[in-house]
Amino acid sequence: MATYDWLFSSLGLDGWCGASGGSAPTSLSDLAGQSRGGEAAAPTIWELPFPSMDALNDSCQAFPQSRELTLGLERGFLNVKDALSFVLDPITQPLSWALDSALYGILNTPWWIVIPILLAITWLVSRSWGLLAFVAVSILGLAFIDHYAYAMQTLAIIFVCAAICVAIGVPIGIAMSRSDSMQNATIPVLDMLQTLPPFVYLIPLIFLFSVTEPKLYGIAIILYAIVPVIRLTNLGIRMVDKSVIEAADAFGMTDRQKLFGVQVPLALPNIMAGVNQTIMMSLAMVVIASLVSAPGLGVLVLRGIRNLELGVGLVAGLGIVLLAVILDRTTKASLARINATHKA
């Protein structure tokens, strides 16, 4: 006899549960009781189980176990999977192309062209000799220890994903700043994206797309990294000085003139801070994404863990740290340059 038999019999549900209720030995204690011959001792109040799905199932076979819940979810997902990937596959295909071509491009261009281009970009956005020297030493150092290709793959993925994050995130942030209901609807989604463990949303993606496709990890990185740029664009535009907005209105600016002439330029420091965060988060995700075939330094880290190759894992890990520092300092330097012209 299980604890909650009385509940079903008092509701007159015995027939629905099936007459065999309680006779099939399903739990370990039942089996133990049977082997000792006779009923298990009635549980005391201290052992009263919570009336959970499993506990109720003990008393009534027809009541679903909690495993049914996860199974149901899984079956439901499998049922819509084909329809979903029929829609999502073409939409996300450009992402695969972008990642493929970025990886192809950066690996098939000779190092003596790629490295100067990277240094030139650093100089253009930061205008700082110190930072330029640091970036040069870091990249040349990574190349010297034969991590050049891995580092470039990681960089290529980050550039593509961060660019897409900005291209999608800034408009979403702008839309949020213009409508409170849009903001209220979006914030829970952003909260969820930010707190969901990164591994968890790899799972449905693996079902939807083939693991060999780059868009699988591309989507994972974008979902994870897009949040800060959306949040900070929204915040930045909402924080623009009300009196400047009033002046823009008083001189008869249209909404479009106000957005691109006043709000976005004044929110630029915040938007750039969001871009910085987005790049940092893509870097964090690109390592996890190596689980689903993302190339780059993450692969080496994974190898270090799988084969217990301590040296390989550590060096690759330090390489990621170096990339993180480079990307962070470069974007912060450009942020500082924007701030200098934006003092109120």
């Binding site: 000085d241 009196s243 400047v244 009033e246 002046a247 209105d249 008083a250 001189f251 008869g252 600016m253 249209t254 003139q257 002439g261 006043v262 330029p265 004044l266 630029l268 012209t341 934006h342 003092k343 109120a344």
Partner: protein, 360 residues
Amino acid sequence: MRNDRHTKTTKVEIKNLYKIFGAQPEEMLPYVRDGMTKAELMETHQHVLGLNDINVEVKEGDITVMMGLSGSGKSTLIRHLNRLIDPTAGEVRVDGEDILAYDEDQLRELRRHKMSMVFQNFALLPHRTVLDNTAMALTVRGHQRADYEDDARAWLARVGLGGSEDQYPHQLSGGMQQRVGLARALASNAPIMLMDEAFSALDPLIRTDMQDLLLELQEELSKTVIFISHDLDEALKLADHLVILKDGYVVQQDEPQKILLEPADDYIVDFISDINRARVLRVRSVMRGPSEGRGTVTGEIGPEETLENVIAKSGGEPSASFVVVQDGRQVGVLDMDDLMRALVPTGASESGMRSRRASA
């Protein structure tokens, strides 16, 4: 020139304007119309009475100053003129047209072509140069840099900022930033200029400079200026027509001279009791008719001169007497004893806030 108000055309007319802030402003309107005050409305219905039955006529080419302490509704009022705030009830007419009936496009046209505005905290665009800020009204209308550059440079030079065109606002002092604000408003070439506490954030000396600059420009351009201020000295100096607000209603509006000589109630009396009357009052307000001279004439003065000037001319001689001459014609006489009588302060009223404060 200053006392011909009835002959001028009305540029902006505010009629029975009410503004109530809160959850259900319309439902509060009947209470306010029945005479509920700002404090009572707050107490009983938790709504803020912003403006209470405002009626003001702004004449073309005048500087109309709306004056009041903080919370009197003056900044709310000026924002109704270009509809940065919409009223709860009432009418605002510009050139005879009801602007409350305007749709979005008409309103934008009004703001682009008929009105410009100067703000207390400057409200310049921090990411644009001084030149681009000055040309804001022109770029908003779609002009290219080549079209507006000369214009903007000329206006900057006119307000004394030649040479700062390529600087950014944060590189300028507060006074210079407000000059940019003024140049920006002038460059729009709009006939009406709204100035919301434009000089209140500036140091006293720079404020005086800016007031002089405004009067000088006004002499040249004859714009219709609506100026908000909490400073009575500033209001008296600038105003052709002075509107004094308190708790959202108009206490008294008239020519400044009139308000000084005939204050409507204790509130005004308290307000003006600190004023240097000799600097504000003018000969025309206190002179007698041409045939009423009694003393021996010691000199000639103009009707627009301040009493302070006359005292200086008299050299302190108590028996001096002046003929008032305008355009070569004698329009009146002024004896020193009349002048002295006009300078007697009205004194703080018994029930006014000053005497209350003194006894507290």
